[in-house]
Subunit: 465 residues, 2 copies
């Protein structure tokens, strides 16, 4: 095990945890760490520390770090900033190797005192083998272990996502995906930084894709070197914020970091093989794509649609995001013509609905026949279906089709653009297959394919060197 | 009433309808017009026409147009393309003024015959006072009347949206909004065109915002003249598709229209005061904004957030979409400082969470106090709240706050960026107020405000002339 991994393990995979500064106040609004940790069903050993209580929430409570019955893997500190240093000293003295400082008001504060206190913390651990995560952090979370050091309830999902973040907000997840798998909030990064976290996830088998929220950092060069290495092993998807002058200023007061010139980040991340995304919806879409879909082996796409109008909207999306609406082979065209009324202008996108409304074929059979022809075309590397989500049951029907396509064309990703009132339910049923994704616009569906393709191209170029 | 409105009224507000070509086959997969119309509870008079039946689905059926007991407002024709002309002739002979031709395979077809048949239809009605909508159309839909001529079930909502579309697909609506209010699918536009529809909605009192789906048209000049006039009266939001070379080609085979150079459309629409949107999500967001929010009187925005990290993401969004994160006045700053720990870097975005987690204020009270200070600032024209959607009940709490803000600051729009697992439910409860909107990203929230502001600026410039 690498040194970094050894160092990071107690933070993310602790078998025993001391929670220092646990209040006797519990329930909603109390933001009680212990309350929250218990709510997940964490099975490690848990020791609240509070000099004024012998038991909180039914858990035996200890008066001090030195009175704990074992050297815990991880200490969580949630105390007023002025008394944090004293407790850190106790932890070091007792051989604790990993400390999360949840408390705010250090480098993130508006005063010199905060910076001074942060420097002091670092002095306390220097050369001791003890590491600090934070301050100003939610700490870590781990779905496999049913553990989070956050004082807010975090929805988790053992989904293969490893998140490294400069804000605890991401622990709550996005609308379409949970970001904890495993997650680390680096906060003010006085000691443990993004690079350490990257090296932890690099070799973590449960983590299949890394989500990175970056505001800024002092040593971008080292970060980019490590990111380049990690990105060869698994996808790294980055949301780099603090883009405008005004928001870069806000970064400074959020975590004390430097945001840096945005254009430089663009180039540097691309060259390191990191997938940069522009907003949180693109972040969610891209993570979902890497978790679920295989990369298309080329830019060729085939589109199936029930209306010409949405076919054109889909074609616009392909033009915008580098996917090429192929001209089908003669044999595909012959197959499609056989399914369509004589007068229909057959082509890509495939308008399959006249085969239903005019030729009288059952809709599900027509969709399957048309999609099979598209997927079988040698020029097609990926396919998108456009579907009006007009009943929840449609999701089950689509799921059947998607399973069949995944079985017969495992190397060609299939995505759906779903529109209409039952979007959420249709998507849920469709995605239960684990082989395809539904998106609320063709742009988002095609953009996800584009990211898969670009990463595949990047890897191919690196391996050709 | 204008001539156009007179002409369009029977299409959108028919009191009596003949459905010609109604099959005796009913149920799912039959795409039976009559079945569908009955399902809405349409209260007008309905006459199926079929020479081989005296009754379909319990409705008395007539053998021919000439045997109908009255001159109906609207005739719907859904018959094979070769026999449509004969029925159109019957309709004209019987004095029917409005005909929807649902049948495909005219100018949208791949053969010369389709074009010939379409020219023939036009010849039949020329100078007769009868108008044709279509062919290749879903026709019209009207939530107030519980009527749609589509053979697919359309979810409707009497929400003030009037949609003009070149695809029936839009009738199914988008994920976040129903597009029928009232809607007209112009299809191949052999006779009734987008301009006629614009003139109908211009004076329709129930229609508060017009959604326009445009692929292309032969006479853009006349369209732009009318659009400019209509846009002075109510917002016109346009999704112009067929942007790339490849998709423009698809437009030709969809409805026989010419897509035109995309950059020219961009300029022309802007100059006509039409709000152009790039994709269907922006279409939905923008329509919702015009229906719900007042326009901000300036670009000044105040942002409230529970995490510094999402505050920066929100600041990036403001930079991207022309809203200016104001510097608060001294009195606002003093108020915010009184709510925050001493060390907190107070500013815009406002990080209100330390007031809760450190100062111990109840979260809802803190949110209300901070938002009230932001809204009361004279430099603030609009506000955005960032909220982690971590329980459905949060939506009720937010709704209370939003109601209070709408009452006290009716001219300052308030939007929310909601993240986390309970997005849908929190948004639903929040939006039940009818005064605010929730968005799944700060970009989409701020972009909606930008469109409101730009339209207000456009109107101000026009009135200053």
């Amino acid at each position: 095990m690498s040194d970094t991994r050894q160092q990071m393990k107690p933070f993310v995979e602790p078998e025993s945890v001391a929670a220092i500064g646990v209040s006797r106040r519990t329930g909603p609004g109390a933001f009680n760490l212990l309350d929250n940790i218990l709510s997940y069903g964490y099975e490690g050993r848990l020791y609240p520390v509070n000099p004024n209580a012998t038991e909180i929430l039914g858990v035996r409570t200890y008066p001090s770090v030195s009175s704990l019955p074992e050297v815990v893997d991880l200490a969580l500190i949630s105390l007023p900033r002025d008394i944090v240093a004293g407790v850190v000293k106790d932890c070091v003295a007792n051989g604790i190797k990993a400390i999360v400082i949840i408390t705010q008001g250090f480098a993130d504060a508006d005063d010199e005192e905060g910076n001074r206190l942060q420097r002091e913390l670092l002095e306390l651990v220097r050369g001791t083998g003890t590491c600090i995560l934070g301050p100003n952090t939610f700490g870590t979370a781990n779905a496999q272990l049913k553990f989070s050091s956050s004082y807010i309830h975090i929805p988790m999902d053992d989904n293969g996502v490893g998140t490294i973040s400069q804000t605890g907000g991401t622990f709550l997840g996005l609308n379409d995906i949970r970001l904890v798998g495993k997650a680390i909030d680096v906060g003010d990064s006085c000691d443990i930084d993004i690079v350490d976290c990257l090296e932890y996830f690099e070799h973590d088998e449960a983590t299949r894709v890394i989500a990175l929220h970056v505001e800024g950092m002092p040593d971008a060069k080292r970060f980019l070197e490590v990111a380049r290495r990690v990105a060869l092993r698994k996808p790294v998807v980055a949301l780099k914020t603090g883009r405008s002058g005004r928001s870069a200023q806000a970064v400074l007061s959020h975590t004390g970091a430097l945001a840096g010139r945005d254009e430089l980040w663009d180039v540097a991340l691309r060259e390191a093989g990191v997938v940069r995304v522009d907003d949180i919806e693109e972040l969610a879409d891209t993570l979902r794509a890497f978790l679920t879909l295989s990369a298309p082996s080329g830019n060729g796409i085939g589109v199936m649609t029930p209306t010409g109008g949405f076919g054109i909207i889909a074609a616009d999306a392909c033009g915008k995001f580098d996917m090429d609406l192929v001209e089908f082979t003669d044999s595909t065209m012959a197959g499609l013509r056989a399914l369509s009324p004589e007068w229909l202008a057959v082509g890509n996108p495939v308008d399959y609905f006249p085969g239903v409304s005019i030729m009288g074929r059952p809709r599900d059979e027509m969709e399957l026949a048309a999609m099979r022809l598209i997927m079988a075309d040698e020029r097609v590397n990926a396919a998108m279906g456009v579907i009006g989500a007009f009943s929840p049951e449609l999701g089950d029907e689509l799921a059947l089709l998607a399973r069949e396509m995944a079985r017969d064309f495992p190397d060609k990703p299939l995505v759906y653009f779903l529109y209409g009132p039952h979007f959420t339910e249709v998507r849920k049923r469709l995605e239960s297959t684990g082989t395809t994704l539904g998106f609320p616009s063709p742009e988002r569906a095609v953009r996800a394919l584009m990211h898969l393709k670009r990463r595949a191209d990047y890897l191919a170029r690196q391996h050709a060197r």
